[in-house]
């Protein structure tokens, strides 16, 4: 006899609030539905009340882990609308910060994976190892989480030679950390392998993005497929795994950290001289779209301009919104005990995704929509 277990909205297995209704037979998961909206902050609406320049700081606050990806993507669309191009040096600095952001996000994810595996020693060890990176970001940008370094037309702060030197030192330390993560993953491999399967076809059907897609054997990365900022000017590999399981997703992220370091080193070696920003003129009437490879995958921004200094409409599609479509497929047929690990393997970012609520116009009642109902 199937029974329904409700997990959430607040549960030790969930970092962010979400509600899962899990249908089980014994310990086996038969079906899952997800209810969201616990971190809904009305951001798209708020963005069409702020000026373009103010919007950069609001976008950043959509997500604490990929804040730079959000502000970059927003600035890129707005730069199209203003018909301006950031100087080369600004593009290089943007890209370097982008990869520092990816590093800290992947390290935080690894720490949380080992926390989910109840390896508390490694959890603290990785948090400790991440701190020099966070200090470095704070040194360059002035804050550890919301960097506020992006501006329309460039960046707000230059990268000093002293800071660049510090970046190289920290990267040296982080290589050791990435090695530690890969070794630890290997020792946990039996626990992580074969669970949360998502086939190549399943991944394509659900439309997943980022490391989740690459762990299902698909070579897809916006940095390569549709290069932005300075990605066309650096050499790097897109990491792909064929395992299609939790272990493969962990490997993709761990191996990507080396590529991020590789990209940052190339950027520092070839950092062009010059300005870090251009004059911002007036916005054109029209619309624009831009996408970036956030730590969690493809992030898309659409902006519509009516020629005033406030955007008429801002629409975004964050990576977790796509990846959540695969949750049910990954969980069906698995054991309930594996649920936390499988959810963790998606590296979900709920704060980006909670942007939907339906209001009944007749009664004024608000209700949320489940992903399954969206079809």
């Amino acid at each position: 006899m199937p029974e329904t277990i409700v997990i959430g909205p607040y549960h030790p297995a969930l970092l962010e609030p979400e509600l899962y209704e899990v249908v089980v037979e014994g310990k086996k998961i038969v079906d899952v539905s997800v209810e969201q909206g616990y971190t809904h902050r009305g951001i798209e609406n708020l963005l069409s009340t702020k000026t373009y320049r103010q919007g950069v700081f609001i976008c950043e606050r959509i997500c604490g882990l990929c804040s730079h990806a959000h502000s970059c993507c927003y600035c890129q669309v707005v730069e199209k609308i203003f018909d301006i191009e950031p100087p080369k040096r600004a593009r290089y600095i943007r890209t370097a910060i982008f990869e520092l952001d990816r590093l800290q996000s992947h390290y935080m994810w690894s720490a949380l994976l080992f926390h989910t595996l109840r390896d508390e020693k490694l959890f603290i060890k990785l948090l400790d190892a991440r701190e020099p990176l966070m200090d470095l970001i704070e040194l360059i940008c002035g804050n550890r989480v919301h960097y506020s370094i992006n501006a329309i037309g460039g960046v707000r702060r230059d990268l000093t030679p002293a800071a660049a030197e510090r970046v190289r030192q920290v990267l040296g330390q982080l290589e050791v950390t990435s090695g530690d993560i890969l070794r630890a993953l290997e020792s946990h491999a039996p626990r992580l392998s074969g669970i949360g399967a998502l086939s190549r076809e399943g991944a394509a059907a659900a439309g997943v993005v980022g490391p989740v897609l690459r762990a299902s054997g698909v070579e897809s990365d916006i940095r390569k497929d549709d290069p932005y900022a300075a990605y066309e000017e650096v050499d790097f590999e897109v990491k792909v795994e064929g395992g299609c399981d939790v272990y493969a997703r962990a490997l993709v992220r761990a191996r990507e950290t080396y590529e991020s370091m590789n990209i940052i080193r190339q950027l520092l070696d070839n950092l062009p001289a010059g300005e870090i920003g251009v004059e911002v003129g007036e916005p054109h009437v029209g619309e624009g779209i831009s996408r970036v490879e956030a730590p969690r995958g493809e992030l898309i921004y659409y902006v519509k301009s009516n020629g005033t200094n406030i955007p008429e409409r801002v629409k975004l599609r964050p990576p977790t919104y796509m990846n959540e479509h695969a949750v049910a497929e990954m969980l069906r047929g698995e054991q309930l005990d594996d649920l936390p690990l499988i959810l963790e393997s998606l590296d979900r970012c709920i704060s980006c995704t909670n942007r939907l609520a339906v209001v009944d116009a007749r009664t004024g009642r608000k209700r949320s929509v489940r992903l399954v109902d969206l079809g």
Binding site: P17, Y38, R61, L127, R130, L139, G142, R144
Partner: protein, 293 residues
């Protein structure tokens, strides 16, 4: 309070504060040594860390979670959102700030607050000695206004994305008030200030017990309208504006007195017919002066 078991509740956060609370568990912040532990269920905790802007969906949950915390329930609102809805204030989905739903013992300003500030706030709660962390040279802390330099023009309030700066005229005075509860430390005010009167403090903001403690303010006397006598503008703003006009168009210097006199009229008096006529005459004189060169 001896020994603190903290439970973190996310009521609508960008997870920036969440990860900084997690980061505070790193060994360097010595929370475990101070007797601060992390509870995975509210029932095991005697302290509640609230992160995020409370929204329509989480408001009830927050009250329920609060009830489950073991008395004497220490509540810390971590970050601008929990403090005052922060950058999201004004959004349709954001409900009342934390302290209108449950009692709050301490607030940590910041967007997000550094783990240094969170750790020091918790140290205060267990009567351990705060470490007094030092922020790096270019840290973006909370804005501080130099009342000597501020002319009360309000450029900072206009650009602030979080609505953290208010300009109030009352009792013949203008107040420019920076509310740290809402401040996201983007440094936009510092960039916009024409007088260089606003600087972001290079320090981690300390926890406070009430919103009133988390403000900085410049208070300026208002000069009176030359016609009706209503106080309407801080004299420094006029001087500064006049100076920029003269620097921008040197030909105007000869008409300096007429320009300054026309600026001394309040909005009401400025829109009277004879004032408009006067202003038109002045503009004709000025453009004549420019053409003559």
């Amino acid at each position: 309070m001896k020994g603190l078991m903290v439970y973190r509740v996310n009521v609508g956060s960008c997870n920036g504060c969440d990860i900084e609370v997690l980061s505070a568990l790193a060994s360097r912040f010595e929370l475990a040594d101070m007797g601060v532990g992390v509870a995975s269920e509210p029932g095991e905790a005697n302290a509640l860390l609230v992160v995020g802007a409370v929204n329509a969906k989480t408001a009830e949950h927050l009250k329920q979670v609060y009830q489950k915390i073991k008395p004497p329930r220490m509540v810390v609102a971590v970050g601008a959102c929990a403090f005052s809805s922060g950058a999201f204030s004004g959004s349709y989905s954001v409900a009342n700030p934390t302290d209108e739903l449950i009692p709050v013992n301490a607030y940590v300003p910041g967007c997000p607050p550094s783990p240094h500030a969170i750790a020091d706030a918790l140290a205060g709660a267990v009567r351990a000695k705060p470490r007094g962390w030092r922020a790096p040279e270019d840290f973006r802390g909370v804005p501080e206004v130099d009342a000597e330099e501020c002319t009360g023009c309000g450029a900072c309030a206009q650009v602030c994305p979080a609505g953290a700066i208010e300009v109030l005229d009352e009792g013949g005075k203008r107040k420019v008030r920076f509310e740290y509860a809402k401040c996201i430390s983007c440094a936009f005010c510092e960039e916009a200030c024409p007088e260089d009167a606003v600087k972001l403090a290079v320090r981690y903001p300390l926890a406070v017990k009430s919103k009133g403690e988390a403000v900085d303010e410049a208070e300026l006397a208002l000069a009176k309208c030359a016609s009706c006598g209503t106080p309407f503008v801080p004299p420094g703003q006029l001087t500064s504006a006049a100076k920029r006009i003269m620097e921008g168009v040197p030909e105007y210097v000869e008409s300096r007195y007429a320009i300054e006199r026309s600026m001394m009229l309040c909005l009401n008096c400025r829109s009277r017919l004879e004032s408009i006529k006067g202003a038109k005459g002045l503009l004709l004189d000025l453009s004549g002066a420019v053409q003559a060169r």
